[in-house]
């Protein structure tokens, strides 16, 4: 089920909330948690009920392994040590993920390398598998490290399946969620959370349906044309790359806002996942603002276990590179994701090395360099092949030529001597140039100059990690959310426009990961 679907908004959500608070009225925590867990399973099964078995198996296995870890730690066995159980748990989780996500990629590459023709299997990627697998690996590591205090099965099921985060994150820590599920205070109707949650949900819905889906209409034709062998010129390559970079941001951060808002409706605070990443003035800062729970995960469960920065500069840079490479692999089975992860690894290596030099550059230049580097990497993330990505990047650097509007050909005929064509700015896709410029321009202004949703609502601590001091955009004092007629009316209309535009619920981009 999609958050931006009618069945979710007009059927699933009202039923889930109403019965939750009805149960909560009787102060039955177990019943309330069981209800939320059951509805979360319905939410998951809506996509494909067959994969409920996989989800159940994964939950059952990890809960048992977690339980065994605690038990073995207490008993101090000599033969079986906790580390053995932990390794077993991680191997089984990663093997399952590898089968569903990487098996065909592996076979295809072996075939190509050894000139074999091993048939690939028809494997359907279960939605959200990367998210629920990683969440549970973190749980096992936390149990091993002694951070886990709560072992109630039904609470664990809810921790893994809680529908606002189940299929596209944020990636949760056991220790930050379980106390909230256990807190009886959270069974009370809290109008502040309900009003705030609804407002954040509407912001997220608007970002997804109105902004991201609109940008997709400019990004997709360019990438499709290139995948069919077309060569994009300077303007078309930039418009496709920029439109996609913005689409991905509004899509995924819109989803994260909706998740935060939905959780608040049940008095649960999820961790913040986005904080204006395109305002970053360095790649290090970008990763502190983009998909923050994945960055945290990679840092805590990969970078630090690899040694982090504890064994000198060379190993630190090596660990960064490995972490980002695997971060790329996590996103999908394909060379384009591996290149994307490696590029970010390289960017981070350069960024850290640059910092050592203590050489500062103006903020605007730093921002520009960071933004362009991120956009270039997104081209690999979106393109269907590395070859297509290279074609677009060459276009962005003007290496595929420049095409200008035919109308100005008579004014600048001399440019033809320098290889400039006059076939229009977007000859491949025939998209309306003015629409592209306006849409991309407005979206850029929003991400650069306006406060993000977390800042607008920071006063009310909408998510874990967000406080009043998190606000950094000055403009926020004029547009801070508060219960008022004006905000209610504005959000009401934003919701109406978004719902009207939900003709066909389009999937969130991160569902594929």
């Amino acid at each position: 089920m999609l958050f931006n679907s009618h069945v979710f908004m007009f059927l699933f959500l009202p039923i889930t909330i109403s019965i939750f608070y009805l149960i909560a009225k009787f102060k039955s925590k177990v019943m309330a948690v069981s209800w939320l867990a059951s509805m979360s399973l319905v939410f998951y099964a809506w996509w494909n009920p067959k994969f409920l078995i996989l989800l159940f198996a994964s939950i059952g296995f990890n809960y048992t392994v977690g339980y065994a870890l605690v038990y073995i730690k207490k008993q101090h066995y000599n033969i079986i040590r906790p580390i053995h159980i932990l390794v077993l748990g991680i191997v089984v989780n990663l093997s399952t993920l590898a089968y569903y996500k990487y098996f065909n990629f592996f076979i295809a590459n072996i075939n190509s390398l050894l000139n074999l023709s091993t048939p690939v299997e028809n494997i359907i990627l279960p939605i959200g598998i990367s998210f629920f697998t990683f969440t549970q690996i973190a749980f096992l590591v936390d149990v091993y490290r002694g951070f886990v205090k709560e072992y109630k099965f039904i609470s664990y099921v809810l921790f893994v399946t809680f529908f606002p985060h189940l299929i596209a994150g944020p990636i949760l820590h056991h220790k930050e969620m379980m106390p909230q599920f256990e807190d009886e205070q959270n069974l009370n109707v809290d109008w502040e959370n309900i009003a705030l949650g609804t407002a954040i949900f509407v912001f997220g819905l608007f970002k997804k349906v109105i902004i991201a889906d609109n940008l997709a209409t400019f990004a997709t034709p360019v990438f499709n044309a290139v995948s069919q062998g077309a060569i994009p010129n300077l303007f078309e390559a930039w418009s496709g790359a920029l439109a996609y970079s913005l689409q991905l941001y509004f899509d995924f951060s819109g989803y994260s806002d909706m998740a935060v808002g939905l959780a608040l409706l049940f008095n649960i605070r999820l961790p913040v996942n986005f904080f204006s990443p395109y305002k970053a003035t360095s790649i290090i800062e970008f990763w502190r603002r983009w998909h923050m729970t994945l960055s945290r995960y990679l840092k805590d469960y990969l970078y630090i276990p690899l040694g982090g920065n504890r064994y000198g500069e060379y190993k630190r840079l090596r660990n960064l590179m490995i972490t980002m490479l695997l971060g790329g692999v996590w996103h999908g089975a394909g060379w384009t994701f591996i290149i994307w992860g490696s590029l970010h690894g390289l960017y981070l290596v350069i960024n850290h090395s640059w910092r050592k030099l203590n050489f500062s550059i103006p903020n605007s230049v730093a921002w520009g360099l960071t933004f362009i580097s991120v956009v270039i990497a997104w081209v690999f993330f979106r393109a269907d092949t590395a070859h297509s990505a290279v074609l677009i990047i060459k276009g962005m650097f003007g290496l595929n030529g420049i095409s200008l509007p035919a109308k100005i050909a008579y004014k600048l005929p001399m440019l033809e001597n320098y290889g400039v064509k006059f076939s229009g700015l977007m000859p491949l896709t025939n998209l309306s140039t003015s629409k592209v410029i306006i849409s991309v321009g407005i979206s850029m202004c929003i991400v650069i100059f306006l406060p993000n949703v977390m800042e607008i609502t920071a006063k009310y601590r909408p998510a874990l990690g967000i406080e009043k001091k998190s606000i950094e955009t000055k403009l926020v004092k004029y547009i801070q959310w508060k219960p008022s007629y004006l905000w209610s009316i504005v959000l009401g209309f934003m919701a109406i426009i978004s719902i009207l535009a939900m003709v066909q619920a389009s999937e969130f981009l991160y569902f594929q990961f």
């Binding site: 109008w191 502040e192 309900i194 407002a199 896709t429 007629y485 209610s488 009401g492 919701a495 109406i496």
Partner: protein, 359 residues
């Protein structure tokens, strides 16, 4: 203001706003989802009585087909599907057979599938189906979305054809009126309602036995007879129109045609094979363009794929043992400038000539 009050105001705006929009959409009901559209339904009633309808305007051609098939009591032996470019295929070309021309302006493959699905709902299987094949049928960016007013019928057709196996649940929902009610709060339906609400009232149509007039006449066999000034256009004026048409950028529905769309090809092939499997004789008709337009298509590399569609249709016909009538190239059909009303519509005499020569 309290949080509770703020929440209630916000939700009230959403609920009452959507209710208001739904009421407006329901009242205007541009696609006739909730009640018969009297105008289109009235046209269908007259055609069923085998009479001609004159002075029709601003109507939904698809809805006329829908009502006509739903209300008909007579099975038909020969059907014509396609765009306005096949609207001159008349019943007299098929003597001794019951006939109807179901062509609609700007037809896409979805229209063809929807119309066959309507017949299937009635359990009627025609003997012969003539499919008008415009090049834009295989253009992903043809921009034709008028078929959406018979979307429910198209969805049924998709199920019959097994086009969308993965979407069975969604289709069930569509069939169970879910989709229909969602239209009440959809932006495209709101736009359509607004346009219908704003546009001038339809002309009063009337029944006639005439076949030619100063106004357009929808003939009882489903074909169209253009008004006198259109029908009697001079060769020079028709050529002028064709030249303007050929120089339009892009040419009608074949802009951005960079490859034959795989999805549309798949739909088309499954559709044709379905017809053959159910013992319907399929005939492909390639409607010719005006010589000036055809020259433009040949000379402009932008339209090379549009012309490639003809090769694809012919190859597919050969594989499936299907008769092909006509060609995009007017010369191949023995036609000249005098055989056209404009850049893309051939006169009935031209169509007759093509069919007679093919026999």
């Amino acid at each position: 203001m309290s949080y509770k009050k703020s929440f209630i105001i916000m939700v009230s705006i959403i609920v009452f706003g959507l209710l208001g929009i739904a009421t407006f959409n329901y009242q205007v009901d541009p696609a006739g989802l909730f009640r018969l559209n009297k105008y289109e339904s009235g046209i269908a009633d007259i055609l069923i009585k085998k009479q001609n309808v004159a002075n029709i305007s601003n109507y939904d051609e698809r809805l006329v087909q829908k009502y006509l098939i739903e209300k008909s009591i007579e099975k038909r032996d020969v059907l014509v599907l396609g765009s306005s470019r096949v609207m001159q295929i008349h019943d007299y070309l098929f003597p001794q057979q019951t006939f109807f021309n179901h062509s609609v302006s700007g037809a896409s493959i979805e229209d063809d599938i929807a119309i066959v699905a309507m017949y299937k709902e009635r359990n009627w299987i025609p003997q012969k189906i003539i499919i008008g094949l415009d090049p834009w049928l295989l253009n992903k960016y043809h921009g034709q979305n008028r078929w959406q007013s018979i979307q429910e019928e198209y969805n049924n057709g998709s199920v019959y054809l097994g086009l969308d196996n993965n979407n069975e649940k969604a289709t069930c929902f569509n069939k169970s009126f879910y989709r229909k009610y969602i239209e009440l709060i959809s932006l495209p339906y709101l736009k359509a309602s607004y346009n219908k609400w704003r546009r001038p009232k339809n002309n009063e149509y009337y029944t006639t036995m005439e076949r030619e007039s100063t106004v357009a006449i929808k003939l009882a066999d489903g074909t169209i007879s253009y008004p006198d000034n259109e029908r009697n256009i001079s060769v020079e004026d028709a050529k002028k129109r064709a030249v303007i048409y050929a120089s339009s950028d892009p040419i009608y529905s074949i802009g951005n045609f960079d490859k034959l769309d795989e999805d549309n090809k798949r739909k088309f092939e499954i559709f044709v094979k379905y017809l053959q499997k159910h013992k319907m004789e399929v005939v492909f008709f390639l409607p010719p363009y005006h010589p000036a337009v055809y020259d433009a298509l040949v000379n402009n590399p932008q339209y090379s794929v549009a012309l490639e569609t003809e090769r694809y249709f012919r190859n597919f016909a050969q594989q499936q043992n299907i008769l092909v009538v006509g060609a995009y190239n007017p010369v191949e059909c023995w036609l000249s400038d005098a055989d056209f009303y404009d850049g893309m519509h051939a006169k009935p005499q031209a169509i007759d000539k093509i069919f007679n020569r093919s026999n």
